[in-house]
């Protein structure tokens, strides 16, 4: 793909990706994240026995990192919508 085509794609982006589409993308990502987060945290808690000691720490790291990334995406979305 040459640079003129990429430039044309970038120029047309604000018309194609409206705030409504970005909210839909965010909602889908949020739901997918929520489903997998529940499954992952379920595993971490279920098997956090004496043989899997790091799962408690892993759960905390997972929650913090996921929340930070989601909040960053939400902040960008709000800035774009305003």
């Amino acid at each position: 793909m040459d640079k003129t085509k990429i430039q044309a794609l970038l120029n047309g982006m604000p018309e194609i990706i409206s705030p409504a589409i970005m909210w839909i993308i965010f909602s889908i990502a949020f739901v997918v994240t929520l489903i997998f987060s529940i499954a992952i945290i379920y595993h971490f808690r279920e098997y956090a026995s004496a043989h899997h000691k790091r799962l408690v720490l892993a759960e905390k790291i997972f929650i913090v990192v996921t929340t930070v990334i989601l909040l960053c995406a939400l902040a960008l979305l709000i800035i774009f919508t305003i």
């Binding site: 990429i6 970038l10 994240t33 992952i40 595993h43 971490f44």
Partner: protein
Amino acid sequence: MILTIEDDEVVVYELRRHWFDIVSVALFLFVIATLPFFLVMSLITSGGVILPAGVKIILLFLFTIWFLMMWIVFSIKWTDYYLDTWIITNKRVIDIDQQGLFRRDVAAVRIENIQDIKVRVFGVIPTLLKLGDIHLQTSGEAREFELERAMNPEDAKHVIQKLMDEKANEVKTVKMQKEEAVI
């Protein structure tokens, strides 16, 4: 399916997959996650493409969502990696085989039913990092136990071999005592 250890059972060794396995997955996912960002950045810095107003935020938003998805994939991979383990006790070898998030096989074999242990270390990096596959051949119809890309498989082999020898001596002693009692 939570693992239960009997009261008189002692955990002797825990065998896990090698950290190199998850580090290589993490590096690969990190490259995939950051690739679109660096691709766009290289196009801008090379001078051929100009970002129109508003596109910057859209791209940053899309990169963030992409990064989030890669983070979720990594978390699933890490869970799979961490829960895949062998627990060697003084009585049994318990093989916990985690496959993705929704499939988990737990099987155990008693030390006296182990017939053969095979360790396979292949390649330069595995040899340097002590990374290899370990197989347990069991008697009867029990399935073959296998842990791929394990950490220090030779150590685990020695531990199991020692337990097998102890068990064999125990059986021998009991047999001799029985024979003496009969005489």
